[in-house]
Symmetry: C2
DNA sequence: CGGCAAATTGAGGAAAGTCAATCATAGTGG
DNA sequence: CCACTATGATTGACTTTCCTCAATTTGCCG
């Protein structure tokens, strides 16, 4: 709850526990359908690829962008994990979301033309960079891309709406774990076992809980045999029970369950 | 916290306390720059007007759309006020936002193609209806409209991000009041005095507080001479103090401040 | 091996929630 | 026209959840 300004200073080597599967994909990103509309045909895909820029990997703690930066690019996570957060006048940090490979970053800056949040790498991570102007220009030519952008923006709205709910610590934690599981699954990783790229403090902040509460809830879940936690590694032992805890709106619906 | 399914059954006659000013505007909507990109020229504006459908006014308690409805339209509030909300598996309602004249509704449904929230009129209200297909089609032809849509979606993301913050009851209430004030001002109404279209219960739910807490906080604010409340009518007596309470990120920035 | 940061665990306190009673207002019907 | 009733708002007393503070413990990296 304090040192959000360190740059670098990695601690844990964060590697996916499980193997990704391949998608129909953007050759540069390797992200597949998550960043490319499924309905786009080959020529359009190659147009999209032309505006995608690979960028160097970021070390843990490095910022992709900061509050106040002029907005020019949006990003797709290639590997690793990012957290986005704001710092209010009182210096308190608020984590707004965690962003896994295939997910977009920077969308909230479009409105004001200035970044209103910070994005920090959690573990070594890399992104694809897209100039926003290129994206809008190409969206004019490729209806599928425009539609995709609308959907992605709408998706983020859905996620944030889901996160807005006033739930207990147990509910929020269950929702969080299931959300991660769903998103890992979508990306071809195991939805049963995964690494938490973020610290307990970040999870706590994101869920509007105290760090200690996160520890306690995880301990309680483990005692109830719902999960197994070992440091960063989490295994979901009883998803059904977790779903019930979460309020069970989490079966068919991929977007619900807080980010 | 219970009877969200009543249709009709108005109670209070909700009238703006103050007079709106005129904007450059869509003739059908009368909404001005809020629903029309400022940069659009006359021919483009008339194209936009062609896809706008005025619809009959809704009575208090009537739903504009419901969870599960197939998504086909987005809406711009013409008059009155709407609340959007979800109901979770346990039957608990969660208010996601209040929507004033000039603001858009239904954006979160784009992603899934199905409405994931309910929109209910608070007091007699009316909307402009836009077929989403028309909007996307026209956005292909009119770059300014596409840009505007991106901005609007991004704006909603900003708003929800701001609402995500973990603040105290006093902070949340101050933010809420200031947000309303800013939005009324933007629309040409007084930012000092306005009517709350929504019940205490709705405010409480939106702010993740108990109804009683909302009452108590408002009473406390009044005792401290920060505001004057009389039923639905609110007058802001000391905006600076409220801003300080809110965390004071609320001067220049129109989008921050919950909702 | 030492030192540091993160995580866990325990004890006590505070903010907000719940339950319950009262008050006020607006709409209803005699 | 006015009493009556229902609904929403307020106020008070008590409870609960989660936070805060503090003390360890654990694991990691030099």
């Amino acid at each position: 709850m304090s040192d959000q300004h360190r740059i670098g200073g990695n601690k844990q080597s964060q590697k996916p526990v499980l193997t990704p599967v391949s998608h129909v994909a953007c050759s540069k990103c390797g992200l597949g359908k998550l960043c490319i509309p499924a309905s786009m045909d080959a020529p359009d895909v190659s147009k999209l690829e032309m505006i995608v820029h690979k960028s160097r990997p970021l070390q843990s703690g490095e910022f992709l962008y900061r509050v106040g930066d002029r907005f020019a690019d949006i990003y797709a996570v290639r590997s690793g994990c990012f957290k986005t957060f704001v710092v209010d006048a009182a210096g308190r940090e608020q984590v707004l979301g965690f962003h896994l490979p295939g997910e977009l970053l920077g969308l909230e800056a479009i409105y004001q033309g200035i970044n209103i949040s910070n994005a920090e790498a959690l573990g070594t991570s890399s992104v694809c960079r897209l100039h926003y102007d290129d994206v809008t220009r190409l969206s004019q030519q490729v209806p599928e891309l425009q539609a995709h952008m609308f959907r992605l923006l709408s998706q983020r709205i859905s996620e944030l709406s889901a996160a807005a709910a006033d739930h207990t610590a147990d509910e929020r934690m269950a929702e969080f774990l299931l959300s991660l599981a769903a998103r890992f699954k979508e990306r071809g990783y195991s939805s049963k076992e995964f690494n938490l790229a973020m610290s307990r403090a970040d999870i706590a902040n994101y869920l509007r809980l105290a760090t200690e509460t996160v520890s306690r809830v995880l301990a309680r879940f483990q005692k109830k045999k719902l999960i197994r936690v070992e440091r960063k590694l989490v295994e979901l032992l009883d998803k059904d029970a977790l779903s019930r805890l979460a309020g069970s709106t989490n079966e068919s619906n991929t977007t619900l369950g807080a980010l």
